[in-house]
C-alpha cells in the first residue's frame, strides 16, 4: 500500500515529520508502522510542544519518591507509607460522549495508580462546562457527572472532591480532568521499566476491540464541524472488569513475580510496550495473533492502536507464569503471554509468524519530535477599574448574586451522586476546602484538593499560574495538612498559536516559581492541548491537584462554624483588589483588570503560621478567602453550620465593596475560642503576621454592622437553589 500525502495527513503527521520517520527507519514505513509512529509522535504521547517547558518545573524534594515520568508520582508520608497520585484529562472524549468519556477518564487514571502497586483510596475531578445557557451544557453536565459516579461508585473508590465550573469559554470544548490517589507501602512500589532478556510479556485484562482507534490522535486535534464523525473512536468503560483487574494486579503484586508493569492507556498496546522497552533500553517482540480479541478479523494495525479499556501489560520473572495465570483465572480475566523482551532494541511485531513491522524503540520514544514553539508574552492589560462608573448595587444583592451563581452554588447536586464514604476512611467529604482521607488503620490522614482559575490565567498567565498553586496550598492548610506535592493537568488551546503557547509558557513559569518557593514539587501531570474549536481556544486552564499530610488525626478540621461567640480573625492583608473578581463577573458581567498579585513570602508565612495555630489546637474552624472575597468566605462558613456571624465594618476608611469582595491573596478566616485570643495573637505577632479581628460568631444570623442581616438558613437556601432549578 502506497502511503499517500492524504494518509500521512490523516495520521496527524507533518510532512517534515514523515521525512524524519523515513530517515530513522532508513526506508518507507508500512501502514502499521505509520500508525504506530502517529500514535507515539502525537502531542498526547510525545509531549512534543510542552516538554521543554515542563523541564523547568521543580520535581524533587525530600518527600518525593518518584517524580514525573512514571505512571504516577509517589511521595513519602512516613512510616513506610507512600502516596501515589496523578491527574489526567479526558476532555475530547467527554464532549463527544459525556457518560463514557468521563467514566473511562476515571478508569484510566485509576489504572495509572494501581499499576504502581497502590490501592486507590480517593478520586477527585475538575470539570468545566460551557455557559449554562448553552444548548449542550445541561446534558453534558448530566452525562459527565453520572459517568464519573458510575465508574467510581461501581469500583468502590470514594470520589471525595473536585470543582465544577461554568464559563462560555468551554461552550464547544468542556474539560473533564480526573485525579486518583492511592496508598502503597514504600518497599512495594512497581515501575514500568523492563529488565532482562527473554522475559515473558503478558497481556492481561479485557479483550481488544476496535474501540478508540486513534483516540490519542483525536485528543491531539482541534474540533471542527466534523468532529461528530470522530464518534466511533469513543471507548466504552467496564468498571466491573476494572475492579477485577485491580484486585488481580494487587494480588499478584504481593510477591516478586512482576519485573515491570504498565497499563494500556492512550495508544494502547503501542505505547505500553514501547515505554517499557524504552525505559529498560531493550527490544520487545510481540506475536499479535495471540492478542485476545473481541471482534473477528482484527488486523495488527487495529490491535496496536486500539484503546480498549481495562488492559495491562506485565513483564514477568522467569517461572512465575503459572502462578500469575492462576490469579488472573481466579478473577476471570484473560492472561496471555504475547511476547518477550529482546536485545534488538526494536519493537518487532509478528503476525502469523511473519514480521509485519519493525521499528527501533528509540525512534518512537527518545527520537520523537521536540518543538520549541514560538510564543509571545501576554500584553499587560489596563488594571484600573473605577467603581464609580458602575451601576450602584446593594452589598446584600451583590452577595446573593454570587451565592446563587452556578459557579458558587452548593455542589451537593453533583457530590451526592458520588459514593464519598465507601472504604470508611473519608474523614472530610466534599464541601470543605479539601477532602481528608485517613490512612487505613492508622491515625494519620492525607488532605487532597484540586483547583483552577482560568480567568486569572487568561488575563495574567504568570500570576494566574502562581495563584492556583497558592490557592491549592491554602486549601490543604485550612484542614490542618502540611502540603507535600502536586500533580497538574494543563488544559490549553492550540500550541501552534503563538499567543496560546505564550499563555502556556508563562503559566508554567508562575507554577514553577510558586512550587519552588513553597517547596511544593510537581510529581506527575498531564498536558492537554488543542482545546478549542475552529481557532477559538479555551481560556488557559491549568488544574492543580495537591496532597498534604495530617500527621496526627485527632478531630477533623473544616470550615463550618463550630460555636456561638467565638472570635473571628482574618489573617493576611486586605487591599481590596477587584480586577478579574467574581464580584465584577457575576454582577456586571465584566472580566476586566489583572488578577491579584501574589506575594509568595506572605503566602508561605501566613500558611505556616496557621498550621502552627492548628497544631496547637487553637483553631475551631478555618477557611481560605478566594473567589468572592471575604464576605463570600464568611457566608460559606455560616451556611454549612448552624451559626451565623457578626462582622464589624472595616476600621480604616475603605470602600466597602473592595473590602468585602476584594480577592487579595494569602488570606484565611479562622474561628477561635475567645479565651485563646491572647495565645493566638502572640503566635501571629511573633511571626510578623498581619491579622484583623473582624467579628464573632452568633446564633442564626449573618450580619454586617449597619449593612446587612440575614438568617443563615436563608443564605443556605439562596446557595442551594441553582442546581435544583436548572
Amino acid at each position: 500500500m502506497k502511503l499517500t500525502k492524504d494518509i500521512i495527513k490523516k495520521h496527524g503527521l507533518e510532512p517534515e515529520e514523515f521525512k524524519n520517520i523515513k530517515k530513522l527507519l532508513k526506508r518507507e514505513p508500512n501502514l502499521l508502522e505509520l500508525g504506530i509512529f502517529s500514535a507515539m509522535w502525537n502531542e498526547h504521547c510525545s509531549y512534543k510542544s510542552s516538554k521543554i517547558h515542563l523541564k523547568k518545573l521543580p520535581t524533587t524534594g525530600k518527600q518525593v519518591i518518584q517524580g514525573p515520568g512514571e505512571n504516577a508520582g509517589v511521595i513519602d508520608i512516613g512510616d513506610n507509607d507512600a502516596i501515589v497520585f496523578k491527574i489526567e484529562s479526558h476532555n475530547h472524549p467527554s464532549y463527544i460522549e459525556p457518560y463514557q468519556g468521563a467514566a473511562t477518564g476515571v478508569g484510566g487514571i485509576l489504572r495509572d495508580v494501581f499499576t504502581m502497586g497502590a490501592r486507590p483510596i480517593a478520586l477527585l475531578n475538575s470539570i468545566h462546562f460551557g455557559s449554562p445557557n448553552h444548548s449542550k451544557t445541561k446534558s453534558l453536565l448530566n452525562g459527565v457527572v453520572s459517568g464519573i459516579g458510575g465508574y467510581g461508585n461501581c469500583i468502590g473508590i470514594p470520589t471525595v472532591g473536585g470543582e465544577t465550573k461554568f464559563d462560555e469559554t468551554y461552550n464547544e470544548n468542556i474539560l473533564v480532568n480526573a485525579m486518583a490517589v492511592g496508598h502503597v507501602k514504600k518497599n512495594k512500589i512497581f515501575y514500568s521499566k523492563a529488565k532482562g532478556l527473554n522475559k515473558s510479556v503478558v497481556y492481561v485484562g479485557s479483550k481488544t476491540g476496535r474501540d478508540g482507534i486513534h483516540g490519542a490522535s483525536m485528543a491531539s486535534a482541534e474540533f471542527d464541524e466534523n468532529s461528530e464523525d470522530k464518534k466511533p473512536t469513543v471507548q466504552v468503560g467496564d468498571p466491573f472488569t476494572e475492579k477485577l483487574l485491580m484486585e488481580a494486579c494487587l494480588e499478584l503484586m504481593k510477591d516478586n513475580s512482576i519485573i515491570s508493569i504498565q497499563d494500556m492507556g492512550a495508544a494502547g498496546l503501542t505505547s505500553s510496550s514501547v515505554e517499557m522497552a524504552s525505559k529498560g533500553e531493550l527490544g520487545i517482540e510481540l506475536e499479535l495473533d495471540k492478542v485476545p480479541c473481541r471482534e473477528e478479523n482484527m488486523s495488527p494495525y487495529e490491535m496496536m492502536l486500539s484503546e480498549s479499556q481495562e488492559r495491562m501489560l506485565i513483564i514477568l520473572e522467569e517461572g512465575k507464569e503459572l502462578h500469575a495465570k492462576k490469579i488472573f483465572d481466579k478473577w476471570d480475566l484473560d492472561f496471555v503471554i504475547i511476547g518477550k523482551t529482546t536485545n534488538t532494541n526494536n519493537l518487532t511485531l509478528k503476525f502469523n509468524n511473519k514480521i509485519e513491522g519493525e521499528i527501533p524503540i528509540e525512534a518512537l520514544a527518545t527520537k520523537a519530535p521536540l518543538y520549541d514553539r514560538a510564543w509571545v508574552k501576554k500584553k499587560p492589560v489596563k488594571s484600573k477599574i473605577n467603581l464609580k462608573d458602575l451601576k450602584k448595587i446593594k452589598i446584600e444583592d451583590a452577595l446573593f448574586k454570587i451565592l446563587s451563581s452556578p459557579n458558587h452554588s452548593n455542589k451537593s447536586w453533583v457530590t451526592n451522586q458520588y459514593d464519598q464514604s465507601v472504604m470508611c476512611d473519608t474523614v472530610q467529604k466534599s464541601g470543605s476546602d479539601a477532602a481528608v482521607i485517613r490512612i487505613h488503620n492508622k491515625d494519620k490522614a492525607i488532605a487532597v484538593s484540586v483547583d483552577s482559575s482560568a480567568n486569572y490565567c487568561k488575563s495574567h498567565p504568570n500570576s494566574g499560574g502562581k495563584q492556583i498553586v497558592c490557592e491549592n496550598w491554602r486549601n490543604l492548610i485550612t484542614v490542618g495538612a502540611k502540603p507535600l506535592a502536586i500533580t497538574n493537568c494543563l488544559n490549553f488551546g492550540n500550541p501552534e498559536n503563538k499567543e496560546i503557547m505564550g499563555e502556556f509558557a508563562e503559566c508554567l513559569d508562575g507554577i514553577k516559581e510558586a512550587c519552588e518557593f513553597l517547596n511544593y514539587p510537581v510529581v506527575s501531570g498531564n498536558v492537554s492541548f488543542y482545546n478549542g474549536t475552529n481557532k477559538k481556544n479555551i481560556f488557559p486552564t491549568p488544574v492543580i491537584g495537591g496532597v498534604g499530610l495530617i500527621k496526627n488525626l485527632t478531630k477533623p478540621l473544616n470550615h463550618n462554624f463550630k460555636k456561638d461567640k467565638s472570635k473571628l480573625l482574618l489573617i493576611g492583608k486586605t487591599f481590596g483588589h477587584l480586577g478579574q473578581s467574581c464580584f465584577l463577573k457575576e454582577n456586571y458581567s465584566l472580566k476586566v483588570g489583572v488578577p491579584p498579585e501574589i506575594n509568595l513570602l506572605n503566602e508561605k508565612n501566613n500558611g505556616e503560621s496557621l498550621l502552627e495555630l492548628i497544631d496547637n489546637n487553637l483553631v475551631l474552624s478555618s477557611h481560605d478567602v478566594s473567589s468572592g472575597g471575604l464576605i463570600t468566605a464568611i457566608s460559606e462558613m455560616a451556611m454549612s453550620s448552624s451559626f451565623g456571624a457578626k462582622i464589624y465594618k472595616p476600621k480604616k476608611l475603605t470602600n466597602l465593596y473592595e473590602y468585602f469582595f476584594g480577592e487579595d491573596q494569602a488570606r484565611y478566616i479562622i474561628e477561635i475560642e475567645a479565651i485563646n485570643l491572647p495565645k493566638v495573637e502572640k503566635i501571629l505577632k511573633d511571626r510578623d503576621i498581619f491579622f484583623e479581628n473582624i467579628g464573632f460568631t452568633q446564633k442564626e444570623y449573618f450580619e454586617i454592622e449597619g449593612e446587612l442581616k440575614i438568617s443563615t438558613k436563608e443564605l443556605y437556601e439562596i446557595n442551594n437553589k441553582w442546581y435544583n432549578n436548572y
Binding site: N153, C154, G156, Q417
Partner: protein
C-alpha cells in the same frame, strides 16, 4: 460469635463490613463466591457493592452464584443473614426476601446521610436500639426504591417485618424524608422468620466518630446480645 462475609468479584464494602465485625469482636471469615461450602457461622453478611457489575438488574447475577445455594440452605435452617445495600438486592433476587429494589425515583445514584427510624426494635438485629429511635446513617445506591405487592406489604405491616423506615431528623415519616421513592419509606425488612434482614443504609459506615457517628454500632451489638 462467628460471622462469614460473602465476597463477590464486584463487592466493594466487603472490607468495610469485615473491619466493623472484627472491631465488634466477631470471629469473621471471608468467603469467595466460587466456594461451595460455608464455614460454620452464626451470621452471614452479604455486603454492598456491585457483585457482578450489577448488569441486567442489581443483584440478579449474584443471585445465581455457587455460594448463594449454601446461603439459602443456611438461612432456611435459621442462620442469621444480613444483606446490606447490594446485599439486600441480592437477597430479593434469591427470593430469601420478597419484593424488589427499583431505581431511585430521581434516577440518580444517591450518597448522603439520611435519617431512619427503628420500627422493630425487638429483634435479634435491633434489640439494643430504643423504640422509634432515629438514626443518622449513610446511603449509597442507585436502586434502593423498595417495591412489593400489596399482599406482601400488608404481611410486612401485620407481622412487624418492617425494620427501618426513612424519616427526618425529628422522626417524621413522609414523602419529604423519603430519599429514593421507597414504598412506605421502607429502608429495611425481615423475612417472616425474622432471621434475615435486608437494608439499604450502611451500618458499617457508622461505627467511628472520626468518620461519621456511632449509630450503626448497636446493630452489631444487638447480634452479640
Amino acid at each position: 460469635m462467628k460471622s462469614s462475609v460473602i465476597v463477590f468479584p464486584g463487592s466493594n464494602c466487603d472490607r468495610d463490613i469485615a473491619d466493623a465485625l472484627e472491631k465488634m469482636q466477631f470471629k469473621n471469615k471471608m468467603v469467595w463466591h466460587k466456594e461451595t461450602e460455608l464455614p460454620k457461622s452464626d451470621l452471614i453478611v452479604i455486603p454492598g457493592g456491585f457483585s457482578y457489575g450489577d448488569y441486567l438488574r442489581s443483584g440478579a447475577i449474584a443471585g445465581k452464584s455457587l455460594i448463594i445455594d449454601e446461603v439459602i440452605k443456611a438461612a432456611n435452617s435459621g442462620c442469621l443473614v444480613l444483606g446490606i445495600c447490594n446485599g439486600f438486592q441480592i437477597l430479593t433476587e434469591t427470593g430469601l426476601l420478597n419484593g424488589t429494589l427499583l431505581r431511585n425515583k430521581n434516577l440518580k445514584f444517591i450518597n448522603k446521610d439520611v435519617y431512619i427510624k427503628v420500627i422493630n426494635h425487638e429483634s435479634k438485629f435491633t434489640n439494643k436500639y430504643k423504640r422509634d429511635q432515629v438514626l443518622k446513617i449513610n446511603i449509597a445506591h442507585n436502586e434502593g426504591n423498595y417495591f412489593t405487592d400489596s399482599k406482601h406489604l400488608s404481611e410486612l405491616h401485620n407481622e412487624n417485618l418492617i425494620v427501618f423506615k426513612y424519616c427526618d431528623k425529628e422522626g417524621n415519616i413522609d414523602d419529604k424524608s423519603n430519599p429514593n421513592g421507597s414504598l412506605k419509606n421502607i429502608a429495611g425488612i425481615f423475612n417472616s422468620k425474622k432471621n434475615i434482614l435486608g437494608m439499604m443504609p450502611h451500618p458499617e459506615r457508622m461505627i467511628d466518630d472520626i468518620i461519621s457517628n456511632k449509630d450503626g454500632v448497636n446493630l452489631f451489638s444487638s447480634l452479640l446480645n
